[in-house]
């Protein structure tokens, strides 16, 4: 396969995750967030993105990972979604990687818990694994 797929990658709790680049609208620094009481735990709140109200999801909480202990700045990946944009809060933004289908594998059994649900598959990279985020599931099915 001469043309691979491009993924926007980011760090989360030691993992390297990716979403197809065409799904990504933009990457923003954490804006002021309005909390939504009673909302699913993973929802960190609502943000005003140039007049559009966007639901922000804390991906660490979504993955059931522990909150960060360091106070490094987080980033938000804004995805295009059928009902508007959604912002995913991640640890840090990585490069855009191009991967080919022959390197695609099903999720390894070592992935357990919420992560198992949320990862579509992995690409074997030379120096590690790229986990492909199932964005639909990440946004839906929160409780």
């Amino acid at each position: 396969m001469e043309h691979g797929r491009q993924y926007c990658t980011f760090q989360l709790d030691g993992w390297l995750l990716g979403v197809p680049i065409e799904r990504v609208q933009e990457v923003i620094r954490p804006p002021e967030t309005t909390g939504v009481p009673l909302a699913p735990r993973a929802v960190s709140g609502l943000i005003n993105l140039r007049g559009e109200i966007v639901t922000a999801i804390d991906l660490r909480r979504r993955f059931g990972a522990a909150a960060r202990t360091d106070d490094a700045e987080t980033m938000n990946v804004v995805l295009r979604h059928e009902e508007g944009a959604v912002a995913l809060r991640v640890d840090a933004i990585g490069d855009v990687l191009e991967v080919t289908a022959d390197r695609f594998r099903t999720p390894p059994p070592t992935l357990t818990g919420p992560a198992h649900e949320l990862v579509r598959g992995v690409y074997e990279l030379d120096d590690g694994l790229l986990l492909v985020l199932d964005t639909e599931r990440a946004v839906e099915g929160m409780d």
């Binding site: 309005t34 609502l46 109200i53 639901t55 508007g84």
Partner: protein
């Protein structure tokens, strides 16, 4: 879209409008003959025929042709417009709509066979004038075997509701008339975007006459604008409002005269623009109503009833999205009134009413809302019948029903699974009904209420906001965040400081506020949302008094900011599902705030628990070990500390009355109370035959209402207000109590308020000597 498509689209919209007009006028002509109306109907059909011919739609053209021939004879006075002719012409309109719909969907006229209808229309031209008045009608023999009057309408009656749907998107285009001169800034009335000038410009009746006259005179200066564009404009204006709010806030913090002036100008222009764009989206409610005379006519004939429809305020305007949303509920209420409300002519005559029932529709603006009333002068809703049915259907228990006031009883018609129709007709009453109407009205932020007098009629009152996109809202603070509450639910604001705080009685987790003698259940916003309030515990308490679903309750918030125009933006599904928020908005400082869903809050806060639980009653009973529904109860002590419970819903007010003000009227003790005379009933005497307590201290009284009269029930002590499941068990034959129940591990007796009051009112009670009350409960309770 090529040129031909454009022409056809235009043709579809126009045809739909002409058919609306034709139907309206035909029905109006049944009331009174009006040569101008006949000429108008003729002209409309004639124009349709011409256009159809031009577009090569031969079936439509043929049908319009025979219709036109019949109408021309009616116009020339050769024929009278009999009921049969009207019915057939209406069927023609139905058939044309059906074909038009087909054209809209497929571009073809479709398989609809209209030859029978054409024959019928032709035959009706030959009948001669005599046929009209039901005199001798020799050539009509064929007609009577062919079609009893209503028959012609029947094949299409099913498609009648369909008829309301247009081939294109109904109302997908609104007409903008430039006849209105640009309004000077000074005549702005911000709370009422519907201005007289705009109203005139949009009245479809006006449009009709204008267009009717247009063929002879100058065309009105009108452009057709797609609704999509208007919606887009509205969105942009929403954005602009937000930016305006932001700029105003920023400019407020800067000392710059130039900026201040510019931002003020921006403020001004934005408001103007917002109002203008909103006005373009406004449509008179008449656009919904115009179909109703036809609906009523067909339905009344099908039910064998005589009904006249009256309309007031058809020019009342509201946003077109709301017009769409209320179409079905209003139609349903109207059908319901004809089907169930208005009696058959013979029944009406027997009751001394005119044979013809009147269905009256009224619409008007009030306080930033639109009120729509649908009233009939029919049989009214009989509370006894409602009660029986509600118990039968398991919506309420007999004990609950017995504790209900007449008004509450009537509201039961809005419960799911309730249908008052004694027999299910094909018109209405399939068990889906009022609850769906209510849900639909509430979905758009409206409310619905019903009032009825047995034998005199029923009135449904629907209140809806003018528009949904930009609404005035009250901004409050709770745990560091601001929340917006739509003004439509707001009744008043109460601030309690210092000693006033004692007016809140927090008992067993069911806090209530005594507000002007009334008991207002309170809901704490912070607790409801599960956040920690940072208000000082001894600071003032802010209560926002809200109205939801017939229930008034107080929402306790930390702080009350201001009212603001907010732009409602939808939430993602995951958040919408919470049922707590109606949307979100962007505040002047750019931060997002949530808009509270008042009905959702009331439900979550348990203020509506009683109703909700009761409506689930049937289901709950199936659950093994299902909890009986919870009620808010007033606990009182009548004599020797014997506890009595009264459903709080029955209690109007709590009062302390100075014994010195008590006067005697025959055997009764009365006090002057709010410009009426309040009879006092001593429960200790009535129930236990005990002596009245020594009258040195203020009398503890709770006021109940029975019909139009209020009564004060005197007790020894008002003890508590509790939220508890109420399961009444009839123990013994004690009169004046419904039975016993266990409330908070104590056995209490549940008071039968109606019976107590009935006893106080009974003639025997009046005859009996003062201070010697011996009442025959059996007669008293009747």
């Amino acid at each position: 879209m090529d040129g031909m498509d454009d022409i056809i689209q235009e043709f579809l919209v126009e045809s739909e409008e002409s058919l609306d007009r034709v139907e309206r006028d035909l029905v109006a002509l049944e009331e009174a003959h009006d040569p101008e109306l006949v000429a108008g109907v003729f002209r409309s059909v004639h124009t349709l025929k011409g256009t159809c011919g031009f577009l090569g739609m031969s079936k439509l053209e043929g049908l319009a042709h025979v219709g036109e021939s019949l109408l021309s004879k009616v116009r020339d006075g050769e024929l009278a417009l009999t009921a049969e002719r009207t019915t057939t012409l209406l069927s023609m309109s139905d058939a044309m709509r059906e074909i038009l719909r087909h054209v809209a969907e497929t571009g073809e006229e479709g398989p609809r066979d209209v030859t029978a209808l054409e024959t019928q229309l032709e035959r009706l031209q030959e009948d001669g004038v005599g046929a009209s008045t039901g005199g001798a009608q020799p050539p009509d023999g064929a007609a009577s075997e062919r079609a009893p009057d209503g028959e012609a309408a029947r094949p299409t009656a099913g498609g009648d509701a369909e008829g309301a749907r247009s081939p294109t998107n109904d109302g997908a285009v609104v007409e903008l008339r430039s006849a209105r001169p640009p309004a000077p800034a000074s005549d702005r009335v911000p709370s009422r975007p519907a201005r007289a000038g705009a109203r005139d410009a949009f009245d479809p009746a006006d449009g009709a006459t204008a267009r009717g006259a247009a063929s002879e005179s100058v065309a009105p200066r009108v452009v057709r604008v797609g609704v999509g564009l208007l919606d887009e404009l509205m969105n942009l204006v929403g954005e602009l409002v937000l930016v305006r709010n932001q700029i105003l806030q920023l400019a407020g913090g800067v000392d710059d005269a130039g900026l201040a002036a510019a931002s003020q100008r921006l403020d001004h222009v934005t408001s103007e623009l917002q109002e203008g764009v909103m006005t373009t989206r406004m449509q008179p409610i008449g656009t919904v109503w115009s179909k109703l005379p036809r609906v009523v006519r067909d339905l009344a004939r099908a039910c064998g009833k005589e009904v006249r429809i009256e309309m007031h305020g058809r020019e009342t305007e509201l946003d077109r999205t709301l017009i769409e949303a209320i179409k079905d509920p209003i139609t349903h209420l109207v059908r319901n009134a004809v089907d169930h409300g208005i009696e058959a002519p013979e029944v009406r005559e027997a009751e001394g009413k005119p044979r013809e029932g009147v269905l009256s529709l009224r619409a008007f603006h009030e306080g930033g809302k639109v009120e729509i009333e649908i009233a009939d002068d029919g049989a009214g809703i009989r509370p006894a019948q409602i009660e029986r049915r509600a118990v039968e259907r398991g919506l309420v228990t007999s004990a609950q029903a017995a504790a209900m006031s007449e008004r509450e009883m009537i509201q039961l018609v809005f419960r799911p699974g309730f249908s008052t129709a004694t027999k299910v007709t094909n018109v209405s009453g399939r068990g889906v009904g009022m609850d769906v109407v209510k849900t639909n009205v509430e979905r758009i932020g409206g409310t619905i209420d019903v009032a009825s007098r047995s034998g005199e009629g029923t009135t449904f009152r629907v209140q809806i906001p003018l528009t949904l996109a930009i609404v005035p809202a009250l901004v409050v603070r709770c745990a560091g965040e601001r929340y917006a509450i739509p003004q439509i639910s707001l009744l008043e604001l109460v601030r309690l400081e210092g000693a006033q705080r004692r007016r809140i009685e927090s008992v067993h987790g069911a806090p209530v506020l005594r507000l002007r003698g009334r008991l207002l259940p309170l809901v704490d916003l912070a607790r409801l949302l599960g956040v920690t309030s940072d208000a000082p515990a001894d600071g003032p308490v802010h209560v926002v008094v809200l109205h939801a679903d017939d229930q008034t309750f107080g929402l306790v918030v930390e702080r009350i900011h201001d009212t603001e125009e907010i732009v409602v933006k939808p939430l993602s599904r995951a958040l919408e599902r919470l049922g707590t928020y109606a949307g979100a908005t962007i505040m002047g400082d750019g931060r997002v705030s949530l808009i509270l869903d008042v009905l959702g809050l009331a439900k979550r806060g348990g203020v509506l628990a009683e109703r909700a639980a009761a409506s689930d009653g049937a289901a709950a009973r199936d659950d093994a070990g299902g909890e009986p529904s919870t009620q808010t109860l007033l606990l009182v002590e009548a004599s020797d500390g014997r506890p009595l419970a009264v459903p709080l819903a029955l209690v109007d007010r709590l009062e302390e009355i100075d014994p010195a003000t008590v006067e005697r009227a025959g055997p009764h003790e009365v006090v002057r109370y709010r410009e009426e005379i309040l009879p006092l009933v001593h429960l200790s005497r009535l129930l236990f035959g005990g002596a009245p307590s020594p009258a040195t201290e203020p009398l503890q009284v709770f006021v109940v209402r029975h019909g139009d009269q209020r009564f004060g029930l005197v007790v020894d002590r008002i003890h508590d207000i509790v939220e508890a499941p109420l399961e009444v068990q009839a123990l013994g034959e004690r009169t004046g109590v419904l039975g016993s129940a266990i409330v908070q591990d104590r056995v209490v007796e549940v008071l039968d308020v109606e019976a107590c009051v009935g006893a106080a009112m009974s003639p025997r009670g009046l005859e009996s000597a003062a201070g010697n009350w011996t009442l025959d409960w059996a007669t008293a309770a009747e």
